[in-house]
């Protein structure tokens, strides 16, 4: 991180006075990622066979969201130099010169420590420890180390995005069960085909920023092959909740159709390497992968949250 890098936008700030607006601080927390984290964590809670006071559940979810936002803020602080180079991220508050790197660092650290402590006090220290690990993994292991070091960055780093259901289950039960571990595995295996589809489209951006994404290091052909390989694992893994009894009939249908859709698109990405389809199909896979994961989790939420669970194999 080069805080005084000349690539940052020139600031006309009064020296020593913050130029950040409230919306800039909110942007530092990556609200869309926070929403995804809250959503997957909520599903991690509802699939858990346990009863917890709604206030405790709400407070735990809030702290998991704040912890996720804090790790996003620390990520933006560390990556401000490369964010300034990439078109997708150049308008973020730090590279745009609206928030000083030191402000973002202090904001991220305060929220990290605060969210972990409050989660520990509200629920239990296993959940707090898992949240602390998630923040550390995203901010330090992924952002500071893996992202600029290896094309496996988003594979290993994907664990940080996959852990919220585990943290949530720990918050409501005090332990980690098979349900949240399966959800964690689904998100973990989903991450590479999702991000590599985007990386195929944005490889120029990543190359300019010097980030060793898979298409830049191993080449587009190898990336397409690996997207297909991960999707072949993902489609049946998406059905694991059905086999374990916490995914019902509706989930089985959604997961089967969604998994086949993912497979069909991954095969197309693998086959079509020339001309306009070489860009269009990865774009479709990227969009569909978001819908696929959302539908899997939304169906679980509906089945458990609204009593719609109809087990496929016996009773749960």
């Amino acid at each position: 991180m080069t805080a005084a890098s000349p690539i940052y936008a020139e600031s006309h700030a009064t020296p020593g006075i913050s130029q950040g607006e409230v919306k800039d601080y909110i942007a530092l927390l990556k609200p869309r990622v926070m929403f995804l984290v809250v959503f997957t964590a909520l599903v991690g809670m509802v699939v858990t066979p346990s009863h917890v006071h709604p206030v405790i559940a709400f407070a735990s979810l809030l702290m998991i969201a704040v912890g996720a936002g804090a790790s996003g803020c620390l990520n933006m602080w560390w990556d401000a130099d490369i964010d300034a180079i990439m078109t997708r991220t150049a308008k973020r508050p730090i590279p745009a010169g609206r928030i000083a790197p030191g402000e973002a660092l202090a904001f991220g650290l305060t929220l990290s420590v605060g969210s972990v402590l409050v989660l520990g006090l509200v629920s239990n220290w296993l959940a707090a420890g898992l949240l602390a690990f998630t923040i550390f993994f995203y901010a330090v292991v992924y952002s500071m180390w893996l992202k600029r070091a290896t094309p496996q960055n988003i594979v290993i780093g994907g664990l940080a995005g996959a852990l919220p259901p585990v943290v949530a289950q720990a918050a409501v039960t005090g332990s980690v069960g098979i349900e949240s571990l399966i959800l964690c595995a689904v998100i973990f295996i989903w991450t590479p085909p999702h991000f590599w589809a985007l990386a195929l489209l944005k490889s120029g951006d990543y190359a300019r920023a010097g980030i060793p994404m898979m298409p830049n290091v191993a080449g587009p052909d190898s990336t397409r092959r690996q997207i297909l390989a991960y999707t072949i694992v993902l489609a049946p893994l998406g059905l694991a909740p059905v086999a374990l009894g916490f995914g019902g009939l509706a989930y089985a249908v959604v997961s089967t159709i969604g998994g086949l859709g993912m497979l069909a698109l991954a095969v197309q990405v693998f086959r079509l390497r020339e001309g306009e389809p070489a860009f269009r199909v990865p774009q479709q896979l990227f969009g569909f992968s978001i819908l696929y994961l959302f539908l899997l989790f939304a169906t679980l939420l509906a089945e458990h949250g609204f009593g719609l669970l109809r087990p496929v194999f016996g009773s749960h």
Binding site: T14, S18, E21, Y25, I56
Partner: protein, 52 residues
């Protein structure tokens, strides 16, 4: 009020600072309400059932 060694704030600086202060106040208010609600939830109804 800016002293001789303090930076002179522009009207935009003051406006932004006021909005930030309001956001901090709101966040603190939410935290107070959250801590109160969690305390009551953790104590549970049995807190009223004690020997006099």
């Amino acid at each position: 009020m800016a002293g001789p060694n303090l930076p002179q704030l522009t009207p935009e600086d003051i406006k932004r600072r006021r909005k930030r202060s309001m956001a901090i106040a709101l966040a603190l208010g939410v935290m107070v309400a959250l801590f109160y609600a969690v305390t009551i939830a953790k104590l549970g109804p049995q807190v009223l059932n004690r020997p006099l």
